[in-house]
Amino acid sequence: MNNIERNNIGGLFRVVFRKYAILLALIILMLVLSIMTDKFMTQDNLINILRQISVIAILAMAATFVIITGGIDLSCGSLLALCGVVFAMYARGEESGADPIYPLIIPIVIAVVIGLTFGALNGVLVSVLKLAPFIVTLGTMTIARGTALLISNGRPISDMSGPWKDFGKNGVGIFPYLVIVMIVAFIITAIVLNKTKYGRYLYAIGGNEEAARASGIRTLWVKLSVYVLAGGLVAVAGILQATRMTVGQPNVGSGYELQAISAVVIGGTSLSGGTGAMWGTLVGAVIIGVLNNGLDLMGVSSFWQQIVSGIIIIAAVLLDIVNKKSK
């Protein structure tokens, strides 16, 4: 309750516990699963979990940036599909597994440019025109999906060239490329959020936009740019998704935006903005992955998995509120 209490050991323990409760939850979950099933604690399975969560985790990192500023991005699932389709169109060979028609960098550049462009569209509407982010991204969500279906004629773009086809399944040592990209993305986004002026400005805007402006921060530009940044990350996730499935699927990713937001919320980032951390988001994504995997291994139906995921989200938010109140 007061400052003195925070100085003693018990207070310190409570602060630490509060901060890392979610990590503790993950460890307990993993312990339970390793006792209940033989397969869970194997190297193959753990790597497989990371592979499975890589796409959602990167979307969740993008969502973390946006949510910390007090915004929301519902368009990421559809934009992921659009970027994946565009990527697949330029990552093709004459036939599946053949040499690429375009240089390897071309599909990446085009997909990322599309991602940034949609991000900029979100950003301008939210920041300059001051529309509600929920509505704006609900609109662009539909626009991106429509565009993906339009340019692909509603059919999957197949015939991915050899190098790209291999990218999704290969890796360095035991680590698939997908997991490496996720980890690199995590390191970069965590540094941006914690160690740069830009990251600090994101927190400030989410915490109190008026105070941020009064502190000389160009709130308009920072808010605009955060959506652009998110769009770029979504493009990366879209590329991973396409290489993982070796096809550009215009229908993929619906509902991913909600899974991403779930990971962010489980990770302790508040939807009202101003607080949160990138590591929490990663842990949140891992919890979702571990839970689905564990329930799979125990032979629980996927319908039940959805119900459990929902309960976890509510429990995480509840935990957060109880923590805040006990202050």
């Binding site: 600090r200 105070a211 502190s215 101003g274």
Partner: protein, 498 residues
């Protein structure tokens, strides 16, 4: 319960209440007679509002007893006290802007039949109620379409409509016009006649003398004296309210004025203020006085680039400048300590360190990356220099007391290297100990050669600190008291009421 003038409807005995680090009330007694108007007076932070919030159940007393209508009244909640006939008009208006006047008045006790709202009936009753107050509004109008003074009248009407035995009015006239004040006072007399007791909190002496039957003065969380209103004069009340040697609170500034740093000419933003001109020198503290709605805060917001003025020129060190954003103001070494600490001054979820350095990051770090050690060092320096009481620099600023939060805001401006410091109500809602620390800080800053603009509603503060006072009345500059020896509460008041 026997009725009659001498019957106490409310007895509060030995009430104490502490907040984090601050004893807000200690051993306070308060007795209210039926059918009387009892004024509570005292400086900001003296404990009047806290006592009322305890009465209505918004806060709970640490110790003490409350007797209401002759019986102990424990476990109060805001809803329960309302139903038992104690209603309060809060200083900060609380209404739902998008609902109509009638909706707001009947919020939470709507008239309905089988769950269907009877809008016509509520409108009719609302109109009746407003008629009684002599205000003519269509009850179907949206609350957000009304002016602040009109909204306040609606709040008053709402409080009355509860058929209360006790109505608490916390600064009810802060935003209303003289004509409306007359209507309100007529209403109060009428209520008194019907046996309703009014607790009236106000800073305005003339109002108190006009309508109060009894006056209780608070100071530093204690009640100093209670009087029959017939027996007192303004001098007694002021002595009780202040009760200490003002000389001790304000430290004397020992420095000569330097060259002119800031000059503002014909500054206007209609309807908030018009044709305001003044200048500030190095080492000078220029006070800004005026009643609420005089436009002082609005001027400062424009000066700091938060809002755009319609016209006028700003000169800094003789050079005409264009300030179109807080960013450019900070770039011109203007620092702003807002009156709205939580709304403008601080980012509450962030730590003490992050708040202190927020506006200086781009100056401190040329590259994209923050350097943790360096940032910690500058933050700690400010924490020490400002004597901010916090367990560590990572403490969430929301957990600090008001006084310490204010020191964070001032420290932030100091770290920016501001040479022109705008302090808007720097001691609002702050305990007396911290207050004198902040006064000392202000004087120190001036002595170091900074120019300080001090906006304050507390006259002793303006008199004690200012070298010069600019007085405003409803957006017009009614005068400048240029000589320190001419500055007194009376000379300021004369111009402020104008």
């Amino acid at each position: 319960m026997a009725s009659g003038q001498d019957q106490y409807i409310l007895e509060m005995r030995s009430i104490s209440k502490a907040f984090v680090g601050v004893q807000a009330l200690s051993d306070v007694d308060f007795f209210l007679k039926k059918g009387t108007v009892h004024a509570l007076m005292g400086e900001n932070g003296a404990g009047k509002s806290t006592l009322m919030k305890i009465l209505t159940g918004m806060y709970h007393e640490d110790s003490g007893d409350v007797m209401y209508q002759g019986e102990p009244f424990k476990h109060r909640s805001e809803l329960l006290t309302l139903h038992r006939g104690i209603s309060m008009i809060h200083q900060e208006l609380s209404y739902v802007p998008e609902l109509t006047i009638a909706d707001n008045i009947f919020l939470g006790r709507e008239v309905s039949h089988l769950g269907i709202l009877d809008t016509a009936e509520m409108n009719r009753r609302a109109e009746e109620l407003l008629d009684k107050l002599n205000v003519k509004f269509d009850p179907k109008r949206k609350m957000s379409d009304l002016m602040v003074s009109e909204q306040q009248m609606i709040e008053i009407a709402k409080a009355i409509s509860y058929d209360a035995n006790i109505i608490i009015m916390d600064e009810p006239t802060s935003a209303i016009t003289d004509r409306e004040i007359d209507q309100l006072f007529g209403m109060i007399k009428d209520l008194k006649g019907r046996g309703v007791s009014i607790i009236y909190i106000s800073h305005k002496m003339d109002e108190i003398l006009r309508i109060a039957d009894y006056v209780t003065v608070f100071r530093d969380g204690k009640n100093v004296n209670s009087y029959d209103a017939k027996d007192i004069d303004i001098g007694t009340i002021i002595r009780d309210m202040v009760g200490r040697d003002l000389v001790d609170v304000f430290s004397e500034k020992k420095c000569a004025l330097g060259e002119e740093v800031l000059r503002v000419e014909n500054f206007s933003r209609v309807p908030h203020f018009k044709d305001v001109s003044f200048s500030v020198h190095r080492g000078e503290i220029v006070g800004f006085a005026g009643l609420m709605g005089a436009g002082r805060t609005e001027i400062m917001r424009c000066l700091f680039g938060m809002d755009k003025p319609d016209s006028g020129e700003i000169y800094i060190k003789g050079e005409k400048v264009d300030i179109d954003s807080p960013r450019s103001a900070i770039g011109r070494s203007i620092g702003f300590v807002s009156e709205d600490r939580k709304g403008v001054g601080l980012v509450l979820p962030l730590s003490v360190r992050d708040n202190i350095t927020l506006s200086s990051l781009s100056r401190l770090f040329k590259s994209f990356l923050l350097k943790g050690k360096q940032e910690n060092a500058v933050a700690d320096e400010i924490i020490t220099k400002m004597r901010i009481k916090t367990p560590n620099r990572y403490q969430c600023v929301n957990n600090l007391s008001g006084g310490n939060q204010q020191k964070v805001v001032i420290g932030k401006a100091v770290l920016e290297g501001a040479e022109i410091l705008i302090m808007d109500e720097p001691t609002r809602g702050i305990d007396i100990g911290t207050k004198s620390e902040i006064y000392k800080l202000i004087v120190d800053l001036a002595e170091q050669g900074n120019a300080v603009i001090l906006v304050s509603s507390e006259l002793p503060e303006l008199v004690g600190l200012s070298d010069k006072v600019v007085v405003l009345h409803e957006g017009e500059q009614t005068g400048v008291i240029a000589e320190k020896r001419d500055i007194s509460q009376e000379s300021i008041m004369e111009l402020a009421i104008a």
